[in-house]
Amino acid sequence: MTNGWIDIKNTDMMLIMGGNPAENHPCGFKWAIEAKRTRNAKMIVVDPRYTRTAATSDLFLQIRAGSDIAFLGGMLRYAIENNRIAHDYLVNYTNAAFIVKEGFQLPEDGLYSGFDPATQTYDKATWNYQEGGDLSGEAATAAPVSGHSSASPLPAHTQPATNQSGPGLTGQGYQGASGAGAKTAEPAKPAPTLPSNTAYDLTLQHPRCVFQLLKQQYSRYTPEMVERITGIPKDQFLKAADLFTSVRKDGDMKQVGTILYAVGWTQHSFGTQIIRAAAILQLLLGNIGRAGGGINALRGHSNIQGATDMGGVFDIWPGYLKTPSPADVDLATYLKRTTPTSSKPAPWESFNYWSNMPKFTVSYLKAMYGDAATKENDFGFHYMPKVDRNYSWTQIWDNMYRGSVKGMLAFGMNGVAIGPDSQKNIDALKKADWLVVGEIYPDETSEFWKSPGITAEEMKTINTTVYRLACAGFAEKDGSMTNSARWLQWKNVAIPPPGEARLDQDIVAQIFLRVRDLYQKEGGKYPDPILNLTWAYTNAQHPALGDLAKELNGNALADLTDPKTQVTIKRGQQLPGFAWLKDDGTTSCGNWLYSGCWTEAGNQLARRGTDDPSGQGIYQNWAWSWPANRRVMYNRASCDSSGKPWDATRKQVWWNESTQLWVGNDVPDFKPDSHPKDHMGPFIMNPEGIGRIFGPLAALADGPFPEHYEPIESPVQNALHPNQSNNPVVKKFTTAADKYATPGDGFNIICTTYRLTEHYHYWTKNNQMNVQLIPEPFVEIPVELAAELGIKGNDKVKVTSARSYYVAKAFVTKRIKPMTIDGKKIYQIGIPIHQGYRGIQEDAGRNARTILNRLTPTVVDPNAYTPEFKGFLVKLEKA
């Protein structure tokens, strides 16, 4: 979330799409209700099904799963056409005025400039700004941009690598399904860079300025086109577009709208681009950085935000530092590649906060290797693994299926159930040598060899050794969890773990200490990374989570003095925050974003202050929020260019002329002494300092603007460009298990998956209280489809995809209606994820024991590698 849960109460308008917060985040959803009750805020819900969230909405639109970009593109077009835009915000706080290089082409035929069909990748050289300063008023003489009609790649970019693009979190290009052992290392040629003096046109008239490109890009997304693609009738779409953009009616900046989404947006083969489309809409409307605004990801687990912050993905280190690649031959090369220099119109300023990358990186390496990390050995940079290819979730399973991954430690997740393509994952585990599962219940993964379809004969042939370790549940351990609002909240132990159950960190410690012993005794190819790892916890066998939190916060390794304030931090003291980090090895910090969480003042995560002087629900003294305890990110954008809040009733931060500082109710997310007339951009994490409507260079793998592509399995051709229906950079997987359906094969019903209030993932099927509330698996089927197939409510039905089948009871409902997509009658069905073959009902033989993810395809988003669980094709019949 750019904002936070409580902040939703400050909004005037909500668009809830790709998420179902009433059902999946009921406690957070209270703030949406609060906004309705206290501010008469309006709520628009767009979903393939009429959900319990929809039941409290003011406007519900049923959308075809996977057509979200078409809908949002239509909204963008509507906002531009009707002048429902935040003009000053757009000019000053976004790259709307920046001029894009000549040669860049919009995807009128489905492809941006630079596509190489052989590798299914883009040469992104033209996805860049033009060098050159103020071009305001020179629109007439400029060469326009056209949609291109050939897919031929443009010549490789040859500009010297003096200025790197920012370390975006996505788009590194580890795309596609490489075979086992195949290496697709980053090319060694210098990557194109952003210009240091960007060309711009403050009149927004230049045909190649971002605003004009945006206008051109979405001019194709007419209400008629939106209807053809999404199935939402034109009049309903217009109603929603009018309502949402009404916050910017007549250019008034006081009102604010928010967008709430969850995995209904991420789980597509173009998921990142859906979120981009929403972010662009919010920039266009000037809703980012403002109380009651933002783009808000509702996270599905209590600590999934923490897992991401801590680098629980292969391509990032803690704090979203990029993992090094083999091309990063030393620390200097790595830092040169990952540290951006600012890129902006010359008269403007850019804080370019990622310029601190060396400080974050060296402090992180010091936290990893302590005294063994020295300037001479590049602070242990060579101890860290270099990522030579895609190691994302689906790739790990693919590699195991192909036989190159021999073992797996599975903690805090039910690998075969969470999919996609559970059967492929089960078959992969059959080939593994060993599997360790740390869980609180015996789950599907630890009993993969008992999955339906495996005969007693086959069981004998499965040689995987399974070690099942009893772990402590959430109430049995202390520590912190990071919620969607970026709050790190400390919790205490409620009860000790039962029986032989152990804390996860104790198990990890045991494994590490024994592996280290082995390396000590027996040596090995390269023992240094293990032998030199710091393990300076009070109790090495049982590391306390408080010790870890302190390590993440970081401490001073030498006496440090701030030259401005003359404040000194003594050697060994906890750091007050990331502003103190150094790149010379005098500071240690496990995660720069978490610096400030456990200072000399103690555990900030355990704070429970309930003061809220502004009444905006900021609660500065409740827990601790990254970064630097800011509750709303980019809050400089809540003020106009002179530093005055857009809305005086919702003042967050402002420029104080007498103290010459930014002050406020929230912690300013900005350089505190940057005078408004210096024109520093509020989006300090981008080297441009502005919000990116156009995502330049390597920001994204599949285009600087979002474009509608069909899901990999779709019942229709792409209405915008039938010859380029799918996301061009998305690759299908290629093992025997990877099958993809077409409507021609009789798979013509769209299926989407979701969760229910009554259950938590695959856990609560072991809890009678939850089981009682929703006792059995079901498939939600439109009344009309059920009638066609002779299915009645509670009948047993079988859903079949190209991969496998799923059996459950029919839930015949009026809440999903038949749709007309591009003139074709299309049905959608929906299935909750929660059941499997281990649980109370499963063990009692009361259901078919099929896992839903047997149905889903292995295909992923090219930026975040999230599988496409939403919107695949199935057949439906009575079982």
Partner: protein, 306 residues
């Protein structure tokens, strides 16, 4: 259930006034359920079970998110899910928390023949006293909301107590405490009525629900549980909420004219006996004793202790 420290207003099957009647005028308590902000999460169902010490029951999927078709003797709080087609053809999902309505004029109490099996406290809570319940099920006939449920094992009737044990200690009912969206409120009837009317006005004026209103049916004297409905003219759409609930005629006759008639027929019968005695003298050597008793069958003396 617990009588705790609450004063009693009415007692089922009881001769004479309730002990302590008119001594205390407690505030009327009331639960407000705003169906327009209910998200059907069922937290109230679970809180109700846990507070009242009931464990789970076996349920079967029945083409709905609804946990079971009706409330049960050990499941007093149930969200009713109703797919409802609006006049314009669009669909909506109405979710209503169903439980005892704690009527001001409780039909169950009126119908109950067992002295002290059903009481109404001065704060308005209607509570079953299982110790005095004879399991006759007359309360079911008396209730226009189909709330009292029979436990075949103990042969007693059960229903929501409005957490009288919590309320008498100054706490809110368990369901209220668990509600994540704040669609449930608890307080005095006057305050809840005010809050409900304010919300209904807001729904009419700002959210386009022209028929939004408050459900507090007069036919049962008003209720201790009131609803805000998107369409107060169609409460039936919310899972069978009666439009104009009344105590069934038979029950009203039973406790009204019939009782009165029965009393007088008894009186005249005894009078006849007396006249007969005066006129004809004793038939059996026995005292002429006026044993008028207007109670229904099953009268027992051990009633409710104040």
């Amino acid at each position: 259930m617990s009588q705790a420290t609450l004063g009693i207003r009415r007692i089922s099957g009881h001769a004479g006034p309730a002990p302590g009647e008119d001594v205390e005028r407690a505030e009327q308590v009331c639960k407000l359920i705003d169906t327009t902000t209910c998200i059907g999460c069922k937290a109230c169902e679970v809180a109700c079970l846990e507070w009242n010490g009931y464990t789970f029951t076996d349920t079967v999927f029945d083409n709905s998110y609804q946990t079971m078709p009706e409330t049960a003797w050990n499941y007093w709080n149930l969200i009713k899910f109703n797919e409802h087609e609006r006049e314009d053809g669009s669909i909506t999902l109405l979710m209503r928390k169903d439980q005892c309505m704690h009527c001001a004029d409780p039909g169950c109490l009126a119908a109950c023949p067992a002295d002290g099996a059903i009481v109404q406290y001065t704060n308005g809570i209607v509570d079953f006293q299982q110790a005095n319940c004879i399991g006759c099920g007359y309360c079911v006939t008396g209730c226009p909301f189909d709330i009292p449920k029979f436990n075949p094992a103990t042969k007693k009737m059960f229903k929501c107590t409005l957490c009288v044990d919590r309320v008498s200690e100054g706490l809110e009912p368990a369901c209220i405490k668990s509600c994540p969206t704040g669609c449930l409120h608890f307080g005095s009837k006057d305050d809840m009525k005010g809050l409900a009317e304010t919300r209904a006005t807001q729904l009419r004026e700002n959210f386009g629900f022209a028929k939004a209103g408050v459900y507090d049916p007069a036919g049962v004297g008003g209720t201790g549980v009131i609803y805000v409905l998107h369409d107060v003219t169609n409460p039936e759409a919310y899972g069978g909420l009666p439009k104009d609930p009344r105590i069934p005629l038979l029950v009203r006759l039973w406790k009204g004219p019939v009782k009165w008639l029965g009393g007088w027929s008894m009186f005249f019968g005894v009078l006849g006996v007396a006249i007969h005695y005066l006129r004809y003298g004793p038939k059996i050597p026995q005292d002429g004793h006026d044993n008028r008793d207007d109670s229904a069958p099953g009268h027992r003396d051990e009633g409710v202790k104040p």
